[in-house]
């Protein structure tokens, strides 16, 4: 079972890996976007960590809805409402349960991913974060490791795609040959699940 602490560790591990990889995310974004994805994500998840420590929520669902709300208000770029919606809808789908199963998390994250697709109007193959999240959700019920690998593979598979959403879509053919920064950060979020399973991972839980 996954308890409230697991979800706080997930957010802490995400904040840590996003901070470590911020420069790489910004470099990816500099190629086809506006070169702020790494710093935006680092600021957003640092704020999430702060608020989770100051006002520790009582349930897994509350951890994710609080995290989502803070991402929307602190990120400033389009990834704020997108990641905010992802976590908030996932949190809402988890409800008030004090503990959830991996399958329940997989189902809830699926609802979160659908909400992201609806908000951004994107679908698989548009060279967005969905290209990492959709394959990850498919196998999340099996294991976090499988989900991590699927998300990474999905992010790498965005390299030959042509962007159809966001600023990168204005580049047309020139967006081909670059990994989508949103897919790269989505793979970090999914990968952080594997670190959250061991108590103490990611620091501040």
């Amino acid at each position: 079972m996954l308890d409230t602490d697991f979800f706080r560790r997930w957010m802490a591990a995400t904040a840590a890996v996003v901070a470590r990889e911020a420069d790489r995310l910004t470099e990816l974004d500099a190629a086809i976007g506006d070169a702020d994805h790494g710093s935006n994500m680092r600021r957003g998840f640092a704020a999430v960590n702060d608020v989770l420590e100051k006002e520790p929520p009582a349930t897994p669902g509350a951890v994710l809805t609080l995290a989502g709300r803070h991402l929307i208000s602190t990120v400033g770029g389009a990834s704020g409402p997108l990641y905010g919606t992802l976590l908030r809808r996932t949190g809402k789908a988890l409800g008030d349960a004090p503990e959830v199963t991996g399958e329940q998390l997989a189902e809830a994250l699926g609802a979160g991913v659908s909400a992201v697709a609806q908000l951004g109007g994107a679908q698989a193959g548009d060279k967005t974060m969905l290209d990492a999240l959709l394959p990850a959700v498919e196998v999340l019920g099996n294991s976090f490791e499988e989900a991590r690998d699927a998300a990474l593979a999905g992010a790498l598979a965005t390299v030959p795609l042509r962007a159809r959403k966001g600023r990168a879509s204005y580049l047309g053919e020139r967006s081909i040959g670059h990994q989508d920064p949103g897919a790269a950060s989505a793979a970090l979020l999914v990968g952080a699940l594997t670190e959250a399973t061991e108590p103490g991972a990611g620091g501040s839980a």
Partner: protein, 136 residues
């Protein structure tokens, strides 16, 4: 037509100066004295490019007269942030609505219509209608 309570207009841009300038332009073109309330919410709270939920929520409170608020948006995060605020509920006053319209032309049409006492549906229709004006 009651002129007392007018629809409020909020202009949400990726850039603070763009939002302010479009608000100024709309006020100037609506002209002829007092206009309906209009507020700009552009850029991040720190003054950079991006979108701020705080600035949007504050602008919406400022223009809220209780008869509806039309939010016009420009690019990327401006669109997504307003959509996600409306989906969440509680962050914007009741009657706040995202209006699908070209930013500059829609802002002028919305403010002129709101200043003439149009209700939220009429303001929205006028702003959206601005898409229909072909330039070439």
């Amino acid at each position: 037509m009651s002129e007392e309570k007018q629809v409020g207009i909020v202009l949400v841009s990726h850039s603070g100066p763009v939002a302010e300038a479009v608000a100024e332009l709309a006020r100037g073109l609506a002209a002829g004295g007092a206009t309906a309330p209009v507020a700009a919410a552009g850029g991040t709270s720190a003054g950079g490019l991006g979108t701020s939920t705080e600035l949007i929520a504050e602008a919406a409170r400022t223009v809220d007269r209780g008869v509806g608020i039309a939010l016009l948006v420009d690019l990327g995060s401006a669109v997504l942030t307003v959509k996600s605020m409306l989906a969440e509920g509680g962050e914007l006053p009741d009657g706040a609505r995202l209006v699908d319209a070209p930013f500059v032309e829609g802002a002028v049409a919305a403010l002129v219509t709101a200043s003439a006492g149009g209700d939220l549906e009429t303001v929205e229709a006028a702003a959206t209608d601005a898409y229909g004006y072909r330039k070439a």
